[in-house]
Amino acid sequence: MTGLGLCGVCKSYGGNAVLSGFTGAYGAGEAHCLMGPSGVGKTTLLRIMMGLELPDRGEVVGFGGLKKSAVFQEDRLLEGLSAAANVSAACRRPPGAGAVMESLAAVGIGPDSCSQPVRSMSGGQRRRVAIVRALEAEYDALFLDEPFKGLDEATKAMALRYVRARSAGRTVFLVTHDESECVAMGGTVTYLSPPPGAGGCGNVRRAGSGRPWGSKQC
C-alpha cells in the first residue's frame, strides 16, 4: 500500500459547505489524527475516505480497494447477537472463540458478558465491543471516529492501550477532540478549521502536520 491522499476535496450538504478544497497526504502504516471543532467535517472526511460518501469535487487517492475497518460515532452493533458474535460477524475469517474472548478481556469485558446479547450491555461495554470488532477484523486501513467517547478515564486508558497495541504499524485514522489520544497513538495530527465563508469550493484547507500536498501538487 503506497500513499493515501485527498486532493481539493469539496463536500456540501444542502448548500452548506462542510469541506472546501481539503487536501492532505497520509503515509501508509502510520496513525493519523484528525482534530478540529465540532461540525468542521472530520466525520465527513472519514466517510469520504471509507467510501461511504462521494466528494462533490476533488480526488481521493489510494483508498479504493483497501480492506477497511471502523469504529463509527455510533456503536452500530447487531443488537440480538452477543459481544463475541458481533466481533466474529465482522471478520472475513472469523477468529476462534478463544481469541475473541481474549480480545474482549483485554478491554475489560469478561467471559460472562461476552455471551450476553449486546442490547443488555451498558453504553461503555457496547463501545468497547465496537472497538474490538474493528480491531479484530482484517483491514488495511482502520477508521476510528471518536472511539473512546463515553468511556471513563480508566476504561479509556485500557481501550487505548489495546488499540495502540493491536494497530501498531497499521494505517489508522483517528477522529478525536482529545489531544492526549493523538499523543498516545503517536501519529501525525491534522487540524481542520471551518471553511472560510459559506459555499464555494476552492479554498484549499491546510492538512495539518501530516504531509500536506500543496494545491499545485494535486
Binding site: A70, F72, L78, L81, A85, A90, R92, A137
Partner: protein, 248 residues
Amino acid sequence: MKAWAVAAWLLIWHGLSAYVGQGIILPSPASVAERLVGLASEPSYWFSVLFSLSRIVAGFVLASAIGVAAASLSSWRRRVGDFLAPAIAAVKSTPVASVTVLALLWIPSRNLSVFVSFVTVFPIVYSNVRKGLSETDSKLLEMAWVFSMPARRKATYIYLPQTLPYYQAACLAGLGMCWKAGVAAEVIGLPDGSVGERLYLAKLYFATPDMFAWTLTVIAASVAFERLFMALVRLLAAKVGGAGKAAA
C-alpha cells in the same frame, strides 16, 4: 382471550336467542353445541375440515413464501417492484367474489380455496416485508459494507431481525383473512366436501344450528392454526434474537 369475556358473550347470545324465540333465526348456544357434537361424530365432518384446512393453509404458506421472495427481489431490484406494483394494487382491491368467479374459469373448484387464500395473503405479506426491508437500519448496512460482510451474514444478522416484526404483523393480518376469503370462495365455488359447501347446504335447508356449528368450526380452525403458526414465527424470532448465543 379471557374466559369471563367468552362466557359473557355466550350469555348475551343465549339471552338474544331466548328473546327471538325461533331457532331457525337465532339458535341457542346449547342447540349449536349439541349439533356441533353431532357433526363431529361423523367422519365426513373431519374430512370437510381437513379438506378446507389443507387448502387454505397451503394458500397461506405459498403466499407467505412467495410474498417474502418477491418483496426481497423488489427491494433488491427496483424495477421488479415497479413491475409488481400495478398487479399488487389490483389484487388488493379486487373483491373476493370477483377473484373466485374468475378463478373458477381457470382452475378446478377443489383447488379454489388455495388460489383465493394465496391471492388474499400475498399482497399483505409482500407489502409488509417490503416496508420492513426498506426501513432496515441504513447505519447497520453501512457497517456491513465497510466490513465487507458476506450477503448471507447480512441477511441473517441485519435484514432478518429487522424485517421479522413486519412479517409477524403480516401473518397475523393474513391468517384471519385467508380463512374468511377461503371459506367465502368455497361457498361460491362449492367444491365437493369442503366446509364452504357444507355451510351452503346448511343455509339451503334452513339448518341454522348447522350453519352456526360450521361457522364455529371455521373460527376454531382459524384460531388453532393462527396460534400454531405464530408460535413457530415467535420461535424463529427467538432464534434470531438468540443467534448471538449460538454463534458465540
